[in-house]
């Protein structure tokens, strides 16, 4: 029915429209990714070096975990500005708890590591919980809530450490986990893979996942359909906080010390960018973790490529900002041209 008057004039305009629709249906991301990898492989020989590839995979893993959490919050129609600060807090808390406990019980390394990791993730859960409760029950806009918790969380991280890196974590944690390779791949890759698969299962096969989509798609309709919207809003923010905290723990193990400067606002922007590039809608209701992982890979390769050709880090933040805006603009453009049957 739609193609009825294809034959009549303005063919050019029609073709352009069809192309736009085809692309917006499939997503630009896979194409851009292939082009980017091909271009870097041809023009920058160091890109395919084994050391560089491992580096890209590691960066992708950190970002993928963070972006998966951010995606969950975006799907319920909110967003989380505090993820970068949560990374910093979980890093400093993990390191501080480990360093102090190691002094008390130097023989129970396993317990020390467990306590440190639990404390770090606990911080993320706590911040996520506060975010979620404020959004769901106080009905404060997600922007203001998470901007507030960003400030609070970052402040606590700095206060705990006075801005000085915290050393003294068990060596095993750093050497055999944070910086180790298992079967030739960085350990973080496995952790990220496990978490991404977990989120994928939640999205596809569980009631929780279904409700997260439903709430973002139409909050009022979900409520009227008997979904306990507040509970699931809180859960989405809490999972986001937890995933951000896990990223913080992994970064800490990699760096070898707890630092309040890990994470930060660039990381927060990257997590939103990775999600938006992957087609997660800022209006809520749309987003798939497998694509977000590709988005994280894309951004990591862009950053890596810019590093390889020695582009100033200040310019890199400008590029990141431009990518985010273009991605959002494309989403809007596609939305306006969607055809109903």
């Amino acid at each position: 029915m739609v193609n009825n008057n294809l034959a009549s004039g303005h063919l050019h305009q029609k073709e352009v429209n069809q192309l736009v629709r085809a692309i917006s249906a499939m997503g630009l991301l896979p194409i851009m990714l292939v082009v980017l990898i091909a271009a870097l492989s041809i023009f920058e020989p160091r890109f395919l070096g084994i050391f560089n590839i491992l580096n890209v995979l590691r960066e992708t893993s950190f970002l993928a975990i963070l972006a998966a959490g951010q995606m969950l919050v975006l799907i319920v129609g909110g967003f989380d500005l505090s993820v970068g600060a949560v990374v910093a807090l979980s890093s400093t808390v993990t390191a501080t708890v480990m360093a102090n406990l190691l002094g008390i019980m130097p023989d129970d390394v396993g317990l020390v590591i467990f306590a440190g990791v639990a404390a770090g993730i606990g911080c993320g859960v706590a911040v996520g919980l506060v975010n979620g409760l404020c959004v769901a029950f106080l009905r404060v806009s997600p922007f203001m809530v998470t901007l507030g918790t960003l400030s609070i969380t970052a402040g606590i991280a700095l206060l705990l450490t006075n801005g000085i890196p915290v050393y003294g974590m068990p060596k095993v944690f750093v050497k055999s986990f944070g910086r180790a390779l298992w079967l030739g791949l960085p350990t973080t890759v496995y952790v990220a893979l496990a978490l991404v698969i977990m989120v994928w299962v939640i999205q596809r096969y569980t009631v929780l996942g279904r409700y997260i989509y439903a709430i973002g798609g139409n909050l009022q309709a979900s409520l009227v359909s008997g979904v306990s919207t507040k509970t699931y809003l809180v859960m989405a923010y809490t999972m986001c906080g937890a995933l951000a905290a896990i990223t913080g723990v992994l970064l800490t193990a990699r760096v070898g010390s707890g630092q309040a400067t890990l994470g930060g606002n660039i990381v927060m922007l990257q997590s939103i960018a990775a999600a938006v590039i992957a087609g997660v809608s800022l209006r809520g209701g749309i987003g798939r973790v497998e694509l977000v992982t590709l988005g994280a890979l894309f951004l990591s390769i862009v950053t890596n490529g810019m590093n390889l050709v020695r582009i100033d880090s200040k310019i890199q933040t400008i590029v990141l900002g431009i990518i985010v805006i273009i991605a959002v603009a494309l989403e809007e453009y596609g939305n306006r041209r969607k055809i109903r049957e």
Binding site: N4, N5, T206, V207, R210, A214, A221, V224, R340, E341
Partner: protein, 529 residues
């Protein structure tokens, strides 16, 4: 369990009827003295309502009469401020949407409770998914969804996303959703507003089956034919009060309209003398980028009201919105007073003398926190009367706006009150005032009387009459058939994005318009075979 009707029967058989209250048990729902106050309006004022098992009880009234508030109270969306609700012999209080559904109250609202990005079957089960330990049992749900759709006889693909469906199909999903669970009380809020005759027929068949199974049905509709065909009793509401409950067989059409409006029908719609002259607006072969309007050509002449009728979601509103540049155009041309507008924008259209009055006055029309004066002059600040070198002439503004507001009989005539404090009718007058601040001779009205009371309605009609008399061209887009039928000199009918008819003179009647939807349906199914 094989089909939904079996399930319904089970429910009815198992329902407790041994309470001893013989008289009460013939009614599934009894409401006494229900009142509900919203900021600025008393939406329900001491309303009594009851529903028997196995009857279709029509709720009849104008927009804003309190029908939707009443059904929302029954569905648990709002709790009443005063009054008692007895359902199935038990007193109900603290009803939530979820509890209402569990107890067998299934509402089908006009604003759909559907999630656009989920599929049809995912939407059907929303809020009551079949799951094991938190994991969805998709296979079981698919099978059940297919069963229900089959039973209803709707042409729906359960795997399609709701966002890709037309409004009519979304309506079917909404109905299927309501009938998925055990239903004892079904609420249908203008379910046929976007359905074709064929689909409507299927729905009525279904209503018949549900009635036979003892389900009580509350049915909101404006269409006389439907009310006659399926209604058992009718309750008329006006301005939040119950006017009367009567047997459907005992009242005539005119009597009902009089009960609804409180006026005689010939007083409601003024006699308009159309004297069409030259074409002021032409839309030629217009297709929108989202194909909600597909290859439509219409024109509007000075001195007449050109009506556009159609089911909800047929694209009639988008058609006039495109003139104002509010929709993305794929192809086609828009000509205002002989001049082709290549890229329509609201400011260009305004300068050419065309003004659009949106149906959703809150979302698209008014800045609620700002005073009447600023809202009324918003579209005219570039004129010399209102500013000089971008500096506002406030004194002049006050004088001009006060004049227009007096002419429109806005009460109270204090132009410094925030628009948010006004009633629906007065808000519409502020919108109209905006059109009158400029030299406007093409008026594009999109559902101009939605949500306003009868008095204001008559004044809006009178204003239209006055404008046409002065040689303006008016396009009237409306889903209320009586309105376009009585006011239009020429009436276009749109259906599923296409223009299907242009009626003039005696051809303009309800039968002719409704049959346009039907013909198209037949033609399509013939073409499909």
């Amino acid at each position: 369990m094989n089909s939904d009707s079996d399930q319904v029967q089970d429910t009815v058989i198992s329902s407790p009827e041994n309470t001893g209250e013989e008289i009460a048990s013939s009614c599934i729902l009894e409401m006494r003295g229900i009142s509900k106050q919203f900021p600025g309006v008393l939406a329900l004022d001491n309303v009594d309502f009851d529903l028997r098992r196995g009857e279709v009880h029509i709720l009849f009234g104008e927009n804003g009469a309190g029908k939707s508030t009443l059904i929302n109270v029954i569905a648990g969306t709002f709790s009443p401020d005063k009054g008692t609700v007895r359902y199935d012999g038990r007193d109900l209080s603290h009803l939530t949407p979820h509890r209402a559904r569990v107890m067998g109250i299934s509402p089908v609202f006009q604003e759909f409770s559907l999630i656009p990005n989920l599929t049809v079957e995912e939407n059907l089960f929303l809020g009551r998914e079949i799951s094991r330990a938190g994991y969805l049992r998709k296979g079981v749900m698919s099978a059940r969804a297919a069963e229900v759709i089959e039973m209803l006889g709707f042409d729906l693909d359960p795997k399609k996303r709701v966002s890709s469906l037309s409004r009519a199909h979304q309506q079917m999903v909404e109905i299927a959703k309501a009938l998925l669970a055990d239903v004892r009380l079904l609420i249908l809020d203008e379910p046929t507003a976007s359905l074709t005759e064929n689909e409507t027929y299927k729905l009525f068949e279904l209503i018949g089956r549900l009635k036979a199974n003892g389900v009580g049905i509350i049915y909101v509709s404006h269409r006389m034919r439907e009310i006659k065909e399926i209604g058992d009793r009718i309750t008329v509401l006006r301005d939040g009060r119950k006017i009367e409950t009567c047997n459907a067989a005992d009242v005539g059409e005119n009597e009902l309209v009089e009960l609804m409006t409180g006026r005689k029908i010939d007083v409601l719609f003024p006699k308009i003398d159309h004297k069409p002259t030259r074409k002021l607006l032409e839309i030629n072969n217009l297709t929108l980028a989202n194909h909600v309007v597909d290859d439509v050509s219409i024109y509007a002449r000075a001195g007449e009201i050109t009506g556009i009728a159609g089911l909800v979601g047929c694209g009639k509103s988008e058609l006039v919105r495109a003139v104002y540049g509010l929709e993305t155009i794929e192809e086609g041309e828009i000509v205002i007073k002989g001049e082709r507008i290549l890229h329509p924008r609201p400011d260009i259209s305004l300068k050419k003398g065309a003004c659009y009055f949106p149906s959703d006055r809150v979302a698209e029309g008014l800045a609620l926190e700002r005073p009447i004066r600023e809202n009324a002059s918003m579209a005219a600040l570039d004129l010399a009367d209102f500013s000089w070198m971008r500096i506002l002439k406030k004194l002049n503004e006050r004088k001009l706006i006060q004049g227009i507001v007096d002419r429109l009989k806005l009460r109270p005539p204090n132009i410094e009150r925030p628009v948010g404090n006004l009633s629906g009718g007065n808000r519409q007058k502020v919108m109209l005032a905006r059109g009158l601040t400029r030299e406007t001779d093409v008026f594009l009205f999109d559902e101009p009387t939605v949500g306003i009371d009868v008095g204001a309605k008559v004044e809006v009609y009178e204003l239209m009459k006055e404008l046409v008399g002065k040689g303006a061209a008016i396009i009237l887009v409306s889903s209320e058939l009586p309105e376009v039928l009585h006011l239009s000199n020429r009436l276009y009918v749109m259906h599923r994005s296409k223009l299907v008819a242009e009626l003039t003179g005696d051809e303009i009647n309800e039968q002719a318009v409704l049959s346009c939807f039907f013909q198209d349906d037949e033609a399509k199914s013939n073409a499909g075979e």
